[in-house]
Amino acid sequence: MGLLTNLKDSISRVTDGLFAADEPKRIGIYGPPNAGKTTLANRIARDWTGDAVGPESHIPHETRRARRKENVEIERNGRKVTIDIVDTPGVTTKVDYKEFLDHDMEKDDAVRRSREATEGVAEAMHWLREDVDGVIYVLDSTNDPFTQVNTMLIGIIESQDLPALILANKTDLPGSDVQQIANAFPQHETIPLSALEGENMDEVYTKIAEYFG
């Protein structure tokens, strides 16, 4: 039963890939909270469509629902790729509303924010298994990448055979260590950038076209 189901899924993945080549690819922007996912999503959307995806904030879990920007056409070196950007909530295994109280939030607001955050993370995990064609994994290059969430997420992405681009964000900040991220995930290419300052976006777009085109 399991064997047959797996075989069916494998064949289905191959045929889906063959017949859906012209459809926009759904590219999920994943990563831990506060890695700069929404800043990146907004940067990409603004550069190629003129619109933003959603509000950015230094408070964790500002993005509590996956937000999508459809039909973003990126042209690079004569190659055009059309993607739907899906900005997802930061993935975590724990959410405690008390952490939001440190950001001058009333308890009711903090509880509501934590509820929305948990729903958003659950939704993001479901999307990752069912609804994305590729992943941009964003990490804050000033933080240690050797966390369990990163290890698990990269493992999950690899198990789905999804093309994945790892971005080492926040290179404009002191303490940024891109090599640390490259060392943590040597099986993947790591691209440095500052989504906030727009640094190295040319290479990011070239890689997006290469990986997801």
């Binding site: 494998s10 405690d96 659950a122 995990m125 290890t151 055979d161």
Partner: protein, 137 residues
Amino acid sequence: MPGPTPDVDGDASSDDPGDGVRIDMISGARMEGLTGMEKIRLILDGVRDGNIVILEEGLSPDEESKLIEVTMTEISPDDFTGIEIETYPKAETGDQSFLDKLMGRKSAQKLTVIGPANRIETLHKDENLISTLVSRK
């Protein structure tokens, strides 16, 4: 003095460890016959009772993904804030057979420690060592 029961599926309320910390070490053989959701239920039921669960062989990536998803749906203010989970970083393995890759089967043999987020704190982690601090209730 009553000791902890080996029946991790049973009613944990009768196994109150008092001031201690209960650790359930679950063998790969015990997990082998369970479905993904049964494994997740076994883990989360234990963790929500305040126990530390150690899996001899860990979970598959798909099961880890569902564990995060189900954990998120069970978080509630002032009751359950989620889980802390630690496994060794994934080794660069070339031990998957072609058939395993074709069928999407992944080796999940990695010791995994899971506990309530408010009681377990990782002190150190590298390729060979996981050091955690477990607090009492």
